[in-house]
Symmetry: D2
Subunit: 140 residues, 4 copies
């Protein structure tokens, strides 16, 4: 387990290797020890049938941001074991941001949490919250 | 709240209207009152950086299957309010299936659960479990 | 749905009617619109076999505090439908406090979250976090 | 990590050392590899203010049963890290039973699930479901 020395660059590079994140247009906007912000523009293929952001994409944003927040402190050898999402409001907007932070950094396990915001016009609203539990994986 | 009279056809039609599901290649394979099976082939854009199925796509499959299972009994006016996912094993395979069922059908709320299987060669393995709580939305 | 006019008194009175809360020595320490603090002293009957606070008592504190936080805004007609708990550290101490707040107040549903602290000597540590989803129950 | 050779006796002995379980009258009724049933009679001190079983006691039953189910395969060195509960119906009855089983037994982690039943007169109803994620703790 080793913290990332330049977390923003390291996560941006990692992010370019994740097929789903590239497809969805997910970008790493901010990273410091224990906290990360990622963003994504709206696109029709990210929607469910009523035109709101698909719960799977909501989960992808939350899970990705949580994993990146943990990675700033634990390095890249992490596996999500459990995550949950609260859908507070229908998620519609031109752009979305997930703000994640580390709640507890253990030797073997990281507890993280995240808020997902939708941006429409000048406004921002909290559309979902979530949390992810990650295991630190032993590397040889 | 009205059960779907021909759940398989109704859900397949609904599924074709969800941008994300069309993009991901999600198909409705089976539907009866209270139980649904959906499937999806592997594709590189559904992966995270190590080549396993992205947690967001896992969540999308589980959440979609759970919503469809509830819809067979409640109709289409449903909103997911909370869902959670357990990642039991790294999700890799040529194809994935999510098997969802209704645990409790309330007047205003449905509790559902789901198992996600990966198929590789001749074998099938349980890679994730999850559950979704849905609200029945009043329609005029 | 009606907010409590004097939330601290109303919740203290309600708390005295809950058999479990009286037995456990749970007290309402602070209440304002959307936020509540409850406390409880350690006792051997609240422990599991290694002498730490029992997960059930951790859940009771989190669920009670969350319900009370929602009640300050929604009144007493509330039902918990889902709750979850993260056990960050072994919960030992002389006294425990649960700090809960409302994340989203809907017409029919409240999303709440809670931090559980253990007090030992002069120190305080965060031992668990949790969240509760509550339905507002129609009253005649 | 070592499976219990006589799981029923070992868990009954362990159960007698947990202050909360003794107070609540929780008993281990059945235990085999990967599956456990525990029971508890109703008592007024286990109730919340409307006379239903307190969410904390619901959580205690689910978490205890899940932990015991994992212990049949992993031995007693286990720590719950996350658990969640779905409250399907108001929990009232003369007696309660929690039926837990192992979903996935890993080297370091156990995923478990549980159903909670209430018994009233001749009838039995499913009042809650839940799941617990447990870490296997290294012992020297």
């Amino acid at each position: 387990m080793a913290a990332l020395t330049d977390p923003l660059s390291a996560l941006q590079e990692l992010n370019r290797k994740a097929g789903f994140n590239v497809w969805a247009g997910i970008e790493v906007l901010h990273a410091e020890s224990g906290a990360v912000v990622i963003g994504m523009p709206w696109r029709i293929e990210a929607g469910q049938y009523t035109g709101f952001l698909h719960a799977g994409v909501i989960a992808a944003l939350i899970d990705t941001a949580c994993g990146y927040a943990a990675a700033t402190q634990a390095g890249l050898s992490l596996l999500a074991v459990h995550f949950s999402v609260n859908c507070l409001r229908s998620a519609s907007g031109e752009r979305f941001e997930a703000h994640a932070s580390v709640v507890k950094a253990g030797r073997n396990q990281f507890f993280t949490r995240c808020e997902l915001y939708a941006f429409a016009g000048q406004g921002r609203s909290l559309v979902a919250t979530g949390e992810t539990l990650l295991n630190v994986v032993a590397t040889s």
